[in-house]
Symmetry: C2
Subunit: 185 residues, 2 copies
DNA sequence: GCACTGCGGCTAATGGCATTAGCCTGTTGG
DNA sequence: CCAACAGGCTAATGCCATTAGCCGCAGTGC
């Protein structure tokens, strides 16, 4: 292989650095190129467009998150798994607030992000397995879990809660609220 | 007053039309100007910048939503008020998905959006009044209510739930889940 | 060792958008 | 009637994405 200072994966990596340092709205080909020490048009040798780079970043983040969340639920089941999944989700978002915002809102509707979206979905389904819910109940419970987790973490990451005091308690309350709504496993 | 085809409020109105028709990401001064039948720089006679227009639109939407939600809870209290507020919130987001996305994430941190943010907050606090929670519990409950409502509606508005089937049931489940977590009023 | 090929970088050019500067006109208060 | 100004316009700048086309170097086949 010829000397490649950059690759598609490398560009995505630099994009993540830009997002971490300057926020999602600053994810621009110009910024990525500057960060990589390269001229803007050179990036087109590795990515097709800014839109595609955004997709790649989104996939990368979803895979990252799926991996982290898997670690959090492995070896656990029932209430323990659910609580651990929810705490790990929040921890990820707190650690990488701007990356979380880079995830596509509807990954399942775009072939490019579908696979990563399902990976993430599987983790949620896995955490609920011990409750032995039927198909419909599983769908409802997964949606509730996603809604609660996404709702709290996205507001928190955006600084949408007025004061940061007691946020841990609030989240624990949400966790208990959700667990209480599930049948005993 | 001289003949004003446009005014600040008028520009905001046109901006809402653009958002409704083309989505939030298409809210551009060029698009607003075209929609208003005016040259782009002319808009600067009414708004200071695109950023300010976004703020004004956000305020307008928050006030709109606060009004709608107030109508939904007026004359109700306790579980009835909470359920009605949650249903009305979802109805608003379903009716105006792109407007909802135009709301600032942290209105309380910007003087320009603070007042409207508090208006909205008051509606949520009002719905919880009958439970006579102490200060800390009120904060937790309000946050939970916001998180659940925002989480579900934002995912739904973005098309983030794979299939639309049974979404009503899922949401009713969330409403019951939240109500069950509150003390009997 | 050497010409060949293609990867991966570059510069130049185009077009969209925000923003600023400065001009022009019709309305209006005096 | 006149002066002032609100409110519109054109021209110009600068940033960004994207495209076209050029160029050098690494490794391949000889």
């Amino acid at each position: 292989m010829p000397r490649a200072r950059l690759s598609t994966a490398g560009v995505v990596e630099v994009a993540l650095a830009v997002i971490d340092e300057q926020g999602l709205e600053q994810l621009t080909l110009a910024a990525v190129a500057a960060h990589a020490g390269v001229a803007t048009p050179s990036l087109y040798k590795h990515v097709a467009s800014l839109a595609q780079l955004r997709n790649l970043v989104g996939v990368r983040v979803m895979e990252d998150m799926a991996e982290q969340l898997t670690l959090a639920v492995v070896g656990r089941s029932g209430d323990d798994a659910v609580a651990s999944l929810m705490r790990a989700s929040r921890a990820y978002v707190v650690r990488h607030p701007t990356r979380y915002a880079a995830m596509p809102a509807d990954p399942l509707h775009d072939p490019a992000t579908q696979a990563a979206g399902y990976k993430l979905l599987q983790v949620f389904l896995g955490a609920l397995r011990a409750y032995r819910l039927d198909d419909a109940a599983t769908i409802h419970a997964t949606r509730c879990l996603r809604a609660i987790t996404h709702g709290f973490t996205s507001i928190e990451a955006a600084g949408g809660f007025g004061l940061p005091e007691g946020l841990d308690d609030t989240y624990e309350q949400l966790i208990q609220m959700f667990i209480a709504s599930l049948p005993r496993p």
